[in-house]
């Protein structure tokens, strides 16, 4: 089994300080389905682009690293036997039907740090 990172790209993150349950429902439902599938190892929703801060060299600037129509709105790590299986799961993300998309990339290594 291999691990794949799924980076979720959207106009903005659904989980903002003022988000309503209706805003986050499709994404929360999808996360629950993933969790039940057993493929999910970790998942994180990020806050909107307004809360992003970028560091380039010594410079600190407001906003995402790349000012683009879509930014990383969240990410999760899934376990799958191969790329086809990973893609089959990733394409179910509701963002793919909302004008955004996901990037699927194999994980080279890493994982949660154990705290003593």
């Amino acid at each position: 089994m291999a691990q794949y990172a799924v980076l979720i790209y959207a106009g903005d993150a659904a989980h903002g300080p003022d988000a309503t349950p209706q805003d986050t429902a499709p994404h929360d439902r999808h996360a629950e389905e993933l969790e039940r599938s057993g493929a999910l190892l970790a998942a994180y929703a990020l806050t909107p682009r307004d809360l992003a801060t970028t560091v380039r060299g010594d410079a600190i600037t407001d906003g995402p690293f790349i000012e683009a129509k879509e930014i990383v709105a969240g990410f999760y790590i899934l376990e799958a036997p191969d790329l086809d299986a990973a893609l089959a799961i990733a394409k179910l993300n509701p963002v793919c039907q909302m004008g955004g998309g996901v990037e699927v990339r194999p994980v080279a290594g890493g994982g949660p740090i154990q705290r003593g």
């Binding site: 291999a2 036997p81 191969d82 790329l83 086809d84 299986a85 893609l87 089959a88 990339r105 194999p106």
Partner: protein, 409 residues
């Protein structure tokens, strides 16, 4: 004699032997290396012992044995470049339980299908898909693949290496997609074969109109796909399209290498056997009722080809077929191609109005068709201007010479 037997086995069985060996190695590079060694070993062994009754079985067994030996010697190689297989028999079981055989073994054709679908996986850029297909499915050496696409050998080597690394690093599975996945994936495979054919049929650049080596490879792949997937109508449709299009190869340029337009080609020299085969495939497809874009294009090309003369072509039926094609594939290129028979049915003025709405920037055939329609309408100055625009977009020498004559003449 021995060299010819090995060359024939290479031409006929490279993909089969490589695909069968990949089942053992789980490793693209190792499989390829072992197959190459098996073919090299054949030169010596067959010279000493004679050509075996089943050459491909001999080659497959030899390659797979070398692969197993290599795996035992270097277990770490597998971890460096893993290629996933779906859960099944171990290496030993695979070799012992399914001795390689030609043709009648159900497993062997599926191996080649896995190879093709792996090379044409949508996770790879299409140019990588094409390069990998030529290299691995057709067994063409990298320098020849580079020449085929007019890039330097180092550039093509890097492209192929990068593609292989993506296959192993991203764990692209060595499998045939099934169920809901298959239609989309097959479309991608057929698109690669069609692109290969198109690049050969009218070379993007250079002095020759036709790149016969690419055309022949595309036909070989289309035939292989048709044989491996007999129930897929679009695999049959693509083969029919390539057959009927290539049937005119002998007449597309004259003895001096100048472009000859369809109405002026000598129909007696067309490949009637290829046209008949295409016709049978088209009729069978129509009988099925499941008609796709390749089959429709093949039917259109067949109507052009089967008419006793250009003037006697059934242009009305061709327009109807284009209308059907546009419904399932609303492409401006299809709409442009439709304008040619439309001019014969409804007049060049109607066709000219149709193509004026098309958005095809940089597509050389748009100004070329417009120029021809303007010429038919007697608007020679405008036609010359349009031919000049087409000339600016054209890179193939044979086509450039034709367009230059229209501008000057």
């Amino acid at each position: 004699m021995i060299e010819e037997a090995v060359a024939e086995a290479h031409r006929r069985g490279w993909a089969l032997v490589l695909a069968a060996t990949m089942r053992v190695t789980n490793d693209l590079d190792l499989a390829e290396e072992c197959v190459q060694e098996a073919y090299a070993a054949a030169l010596q062994s067959w010279a000493r012992d004679g050509v075996p009754d089943q050459p491909l079985a001999w080659l497959t067994t030899t390659a797979r044995r070398r692969a197993m030996d290599a795996i035992r010697r270097e277990r770490t190689l597998r971890s460096k470049l893993p290629l996933l297989l779906e859960p099944e028999a171990t290496v030993e079981d695979t070799v012992m339980d399914h001795p390689p055989a030609e043709d009648h073994d159900d497993e062997i054709p599926d191996e080649r299908l896995r190879l093709i679908f792996t090379c044409c996986h949508p996770a790879l850029a299409q140019e990588a898909q094409v390069a990998l297909t030529l290299r691995l499915v057709c067994g063409i050496p990298t320098p020849d693949v580079a020449r085929a696409f007019l890039v330097t050998e180092p550039t093509m080597a890097a492209r192929i290496t990068r593609a292989k690394k993506k296959v192993s690093g991203a764990r692209i599975p060595f499998r045939v997609p099934h169920g809901a996945e298959l239609p989309d994936r097959l479309r991608g495979v057929l698109a690669v074969v069609h692109l290969l054919f198109t690049a050969g049929h009218t070379a993007p650049s250079g002095a020759d109109l036709v790149r016969a080596d690419l055309v022949d490879r595309a036909l070989h792949l289309a035939r292989m796909l048709r044989e491996l997937m007999p129930d897929e109508p679009e695999a049959a449709g693509l083969l029919a399209l390539l057959l009927v299009t290539d049937a005119r190869r002998a007449t597309r340029v004259d003895a001096a290498g100048r472009l000859v337009r369809l109405p002026d080609q000598d129909r007696a020299l067309w490949d009637r056997a290829a046209m008949a085969e295409a016709h049978d495939l088209i009729v069978a497809g129509l009988r099925d009722g499941r008609i796709g874009r390749y089959a429709l294009q093949a039917a259109i090309a067949s109507l052009y080809a089967e008419a006793p003369s250009y003037a006697e072509t059934d242009f009305a039926q061709i327009v109807q077929l284009y209308d059907t094609l546009l419904k399932i594939w609303p492409s401006p290129v299809v709409a442009l191609n439709r304008a040619v028979p439309l001019a014969m049915v409804a007049g060049p003025e109607v066709a000219l109005a149709e193509i004026s709405q098309l958005d095809l920037p940089g597509y050389q055939y748009l100004p070329a068709v417009r120029a021809d329609l303007l010429r038919q309408l007697g608007r020679d100055a405008e036609a010359r201007e349009a031919y000049t625009q087409a000339l600016a977009l054209t890179t193939n020498e044979a086509e450039r010479e034709f367009l230059t004559q229209q501008v000057d003449g």
